[in-house]
């Protein structure tokens, strides 16, 4: 079994998620080679062949051109699997590759059992084993699903790849997340509001519980997208990563992108009307209740302690 691992580079640096791909290949006991549009001044610590295209020439985001560079590496390497992170880079490039190769493409793989990729469905309430009907396949891996145990080491054997394919879109630069707001990473207790709060007025009961516990309030993405809370309070892959002593998730289902931002909390309490909500997988205590009743009652008891 041969894998080609598609590493990622952003803002002048190799992304650490690239090493999760290495862990995946190791777990599979597969041979691997790596592909990167990056720079020889920031090479991955990796033992093996690295197909390297110069980011100075091709840019960090340039799908049509990266696609051609990667297809050239695939033609040289002839891997059984082309493996990406399920990230903004990976889910953008992977379908372009699977279509060009005319092969099966399995997204957000969390495990491989007897050679068959396993993926989540319905907000991780269900699992699916996906059978490819083609010999070669393209995979994207869920972040964190294949962790690296040891610090990576080694240095790659570099093979340059080049193309004169024309770009289809123009990359005009990055925009940082707005600065300011609260710094959730410093809070010892975070009480977060999810879509289950129903309406913006109910944020007050979440804030009150946070205050009673001498903490800050946080939010899931829909609450921020609806402008009920500031973006600095969003917990998850596109917000903050937090690890407080206590995290209380109120009306939050527990989507993977939210879990990624809070699952390292020391103690997790979830309040949810749905007993099967995936937040139950990481919660130390799941209270099956309507937050509109439970949260104010809890606040009052704490204030009276």
């Amino acid at each position: 079994m041969k894998t080609l691992l598609v590493a990622e580079y952003r803002d002048g640096e190799l992304l650490n998620s690239s090493y999760e791909l290495v862990a995946f290949a190791e777990q599979l006991g597969a041979e691997s080679a790596m592909f990167l549009v990056g720079s020889d001044s920031a090479l991955p610590t990796y033992n093996g062949t690295l197909y390297l295209a110069d980011v100075g020439k091709y840019g960090e985001f340039n799908p049509a051109v990266h696609k051609q560079l990667l297809l050239d590496a695939i033609a040289k390497e002839q891997p059984d699997m082309v493996v990406f992170a399920h990230s903004s880079y990976g889910w953008d490039l992977a379908p372009r590759i699977s279509l060009a190769l005319n092969v099966a493409h399995v997204s957000e793989v969390i495990d491989i059992v007897d050679g068959v990729p396993v993926v989540p469905a319905c907000n991780a309430k269900l699992r699916r084993n996906v059978k490819a009907k083609t010999n070669q396949m393209v995979l994207t891996l869920q972040g964190g699903a294949f962790g690296l145990e040891d610090e990576p080491s080694g240095s790659p054997t570099v093979v340059s790849v080049d193309t004169d394919t024309a770009a289809q879109v123009e990359f005009c630069g990055y925009e940082e997340a707005e600065a300011g707001g609260v710094d959730l990473s410093k809070a010892e207790v975070i009480v977060s509001a999810g879509r289950g709060i129903g309406k913006p007025e109910n944020l007050a009961i979440i804030e009150a519980l946070a205050k009673a516990l001498k903490g800050e309030y946080g939010a899931s993405r829909p609450v921020v997208d609806s402008d009920w809370a500031d973006h600095s309070r969003q917990v998850g892959t596109t917000g903050q990563t937090v690890s407080p002593k206590l995290y209380v998730a109120c009306g939050i289902s527990g989507a993977i992108q939210h879990l990624a931002g809070m699952k390292k909390s020391e103690f997790i309490v979830a309040i949810n009307t749905d007993k099967d909500a995936p937040i139950g997988e990481v919660a130390d205590v799941l209270i099956v209740a309507d937050l509109k009743e439970f949260v104010p009652a809890m606040t009052e008891k704490i204030n009276n302690l």
């Binding site: 991780a124 084993n129 990481v282």
Partner: protein, 257 residues
């Protein structure tokens, strides 16, 4: 200007799922169905674009059984001009490549200037269909957009990356974009618009007219994950629950000390 928006119907994620008899998908009965959340943003953006350019024709497309027409009527009430329902009772056995091929086959001779899709579906979440459609039609595509502007044939979008960073991308129409949560604020259809939508064209096309490829993958098995977390599940009376949680917090954490 011609615009296409593709929408999928998905079950409410708070549903209690049951497996079908073959254990390769969930049972479709007893579920509440709704428009894929990401697609609501796609419809809204398409309607806003039509409002901006004025002279535009906006088609909404969905592949699925008869029940998807209910959701398509919502899109028509939000402001789409016409609906193309690709009728397929067996749609669930199709992989993203087949779904994309059907959409591309429908779109190929129609000269759409812009195509909007969701970045992913809530039930399956491959995040493939949009990009595949664009590649099949040889159009530029930009994924995961959280901001969209159109000016004289040029689009400028922001792509969302991890950690809240965005990248600014420009492309020239015709193009396809896949919409991320928070792109805009999807409107609620008003009653007059719901009435008007009833008179809008909603064509049904049998999938056999458009499906010319075979899938590349199938679901071998669907199942519930094993519960790993040994977390405590507490149910019952609220007053009692608060007492129990306070005791647990005192025992297991230092936050009430």
């Amino acid at each position: 200007m011609k615009i296409l928006v593709c929408i999928k119907q998905v079950p409410d994620m708070e549903s209690r799922f049951k497996l079908n008899s073959e254990s390769n998908w969930y049972e479709g009965t007893d579920l509440a169905w709704r428009m894929n959340e990401y697609d609501e943003y796609a419809v809204e953006q398409a309607v806003q674009l039509k409002g901006q350019v004025g002279d535009a024709d906006l088609t909404v497309l969905s592949i699925g059984p008869d029940r998807v027409k209910e959701m398509m009527k919502k899109a028509l009430a939000m402001g789409c001009d016409r609906g193309a329902h690709i009728a397929d009772d067996d749609y669930f056995k199709k992989d993203p490549f087949e779904i994309a091929s059907v959409i591309a086959e429908f779109a190929k001779d129609q000269g759409f200037d812009l195509i909007f899709t969701g970045m992913q579906s809530q039930d399956r979440g491959s995040g493939q269909v949009g990009v595949l459609v664009a590649e099949m039609l040889d159009l530029p595509s930009i994924t995961t957009i959280v901001d969209f502007a159109f000016d004289g044939g040029q689009i400028t979008v922001k792509r969302e990356l991890e950690g809240g960073i965005k990248s600014v991308i420009k492309a020239t129409a015709p193009a396809l974009v896949t919409c991320q949560l928070g792109l805009n604020t999807p409107r609620y259809p008003t009653l007059p618009n719901i009435m008007k939508a009833k008179r809008k064209e909603l064509l049904s096309i049998p999938i056999s007219d458009l499906l010319k490829v075979e899938g590349k993958q199938e679901t071998a098995k669907m199942y519930f994950p094993e519960k790993k977390g040994g977390g405590l599940v507490l149910e019952g009376d609220v007053a009692d629950l608060t007492d129990r949680l306070i005791k647990i917090l005192k025992d297991k954490t230092a936050v009430l000390a």
